[in-house]
Amino acid sequence: MTLLIQRLFDGLSSGAVYAALALAIVLVFRATGTLNLAQGEMAMFTCFLAWKLADPAHGLGWPVVPAILLAMAVGLAGGAVIERVVVRPVEDRTDHLPIIIVTLGLMLAINALAGALFTTDVVRLPEVFPAGALRLGDVHLSYATIGLLAVLLVVSALIWALFQRTRIGLRMRASVDNPDSARLLGIRRSHMLMLGWGIAGALGALAAVLVAPQTFVHTGMLQGVLLYAFAAATLGGFTSVLGAVVGGLIVGVLQSLAAGYVGFIGNDLSLLVALVIIIAVLMVKPAGLFGRVDSSRL
């Protein structure tokens, strides 16, 4: 029993990271209608930036929190710039393949650039949350897990409020729902796209620095995480903010339980869990748990 609860908490902790990256994927998907395969690498790049700012030996030795905030700001600007400069020229609302290929190219390019600019070694970002754990009986609930879940909760509440409670959020939703009508009302679609990609970039940066204590910082740090995030987004339904969060947590827990209880999976094959989830969801309920099946009446 104790072990089960411990594994649940471990799962929620990695699930929070998947959820943050899944949120980024969902935001881009809602804005542009396609996947950004480079989302993970963009996040990895900003995480290296945070490391460069914070590391006392190889960098500037900033305190870690301002370093992370600046990395998120760079993620925001970087996402917007990438949308405008690289993605927009190939945008075609009926054919999404060009964008996917461009983001695939970005993924490789950013990976190489990070290696060249920073380092190809594995480095450590200083911890944000204090070490240690809360003891509940025999279960250890680490401060890092509590912190992760709290950050996820706050961030998803902020995103939800942005979309549901602000005028700019309403404009973004209108622009996603019917781009042509939105433009006729004076909503600048171009700005909405850049904003969607920008927020996704900032969220990605956050996911990367949150996962950094477990994966450490290196050019491949998010490649596995990105797959789990895709699984989370698929499970949650790709169009839903809530879906991304719930999907992320479920995927994290499933992964932790499968690794613990299904003998042959262990830690080596746990990526299999992500693939099984993706395939199972697509076969049983393609719209995911919270996805919208678009309907309209003429």
């Binding site: 005028r167 309403l170 404009r171 042509d180 433009r183 006729l184 009302l185 004076g186 679609r189 009446r297």
Partner: protein, 192 residues
């Protein structure tokens, strides 16, 4: 043609809008001139609520209290919208969606309202109601309207002036009453 005025389709044409020469570049810019466009097929935001659709119509306005007041006014004018204010617009009937599309366009307080085939797909009774509403808007709110309509009989009954287009060129234009009485027009377009 309406899509060219709004800048949805590229056009090299120029037009005069309240005496100023304009060349449409993008729909966003045209909207900023005070031109609202109710597109063919209504173009409501199906996943947004009725109220959110109206709010989105006020994108270019700043004063929140006035916007809220306008929303109430439009819901009074079209009571069906008030009954369904928290429902997704996609769940509305065709006629209700057309009213919503018009109210949404009017939320921007435009000087000119463009309507593209507003009667398309609506029941005859709803079409009559729709044109009565348009006439009332025109008279009480003094908004200019340019309506492109296949239903020539209804359109001419409510319009001040009529223009007959043939292959993109104006073949005939006159006051709506004169056009409606013109034998050639009656034979060709009104089917009498």
């Amino acid at each position: 043609m309406l899509r060219a005025i709004s800048g949805v389709v590229p056009s090299t044409a120029e037009y005069r809008f309240f005496g100023v020469r304009r060349r449409p570049r993008s729909p966003e810019q045209v909207a900023r001139l005070g031109v609202a466009h109710v597109p063919q097929g209504r173009g409501t935001f199906g996943n947004l609520t009725v109220e959110e659709n109206l709010l989105a119509g006020a994108t270019l306005r700043r004063r929140t209290p006035e916007i809220a007041e306008d929303i109430e006014n439009w819901m009074t004018r079209f009571p069906a919208l008030r009954d369904r204010r928290a429902q997704p617009a996609g769940s509305l009937s065709g006629g209700e969606q057309q009213m919503l599309a018009i109210a949404r366009a009017m939320m921007g307080r435009p000087k000119l309202l463009l309507l593209d085939e507003p009667s398309l797909g609506l029941a005859p009774r709803v079409v009559t109601e729709l044109f009565d509403h348009l006439k009332a808007l025109n008279e009480t709110l003094h908004v200019a309207m340019l309506v492109v309509e296949q239903n020539a009989r209804q359109a001419l009954r409510h319009a001040d002036r009529g223009y007959v287009l043939e292959q993109g060129r104006i073949a005939l234009h006159d006051t709506a009453a004169e056009l409606g009485g013109n034998d050639a027009v009656r034979a060709a377009y009104l089917g009498v």
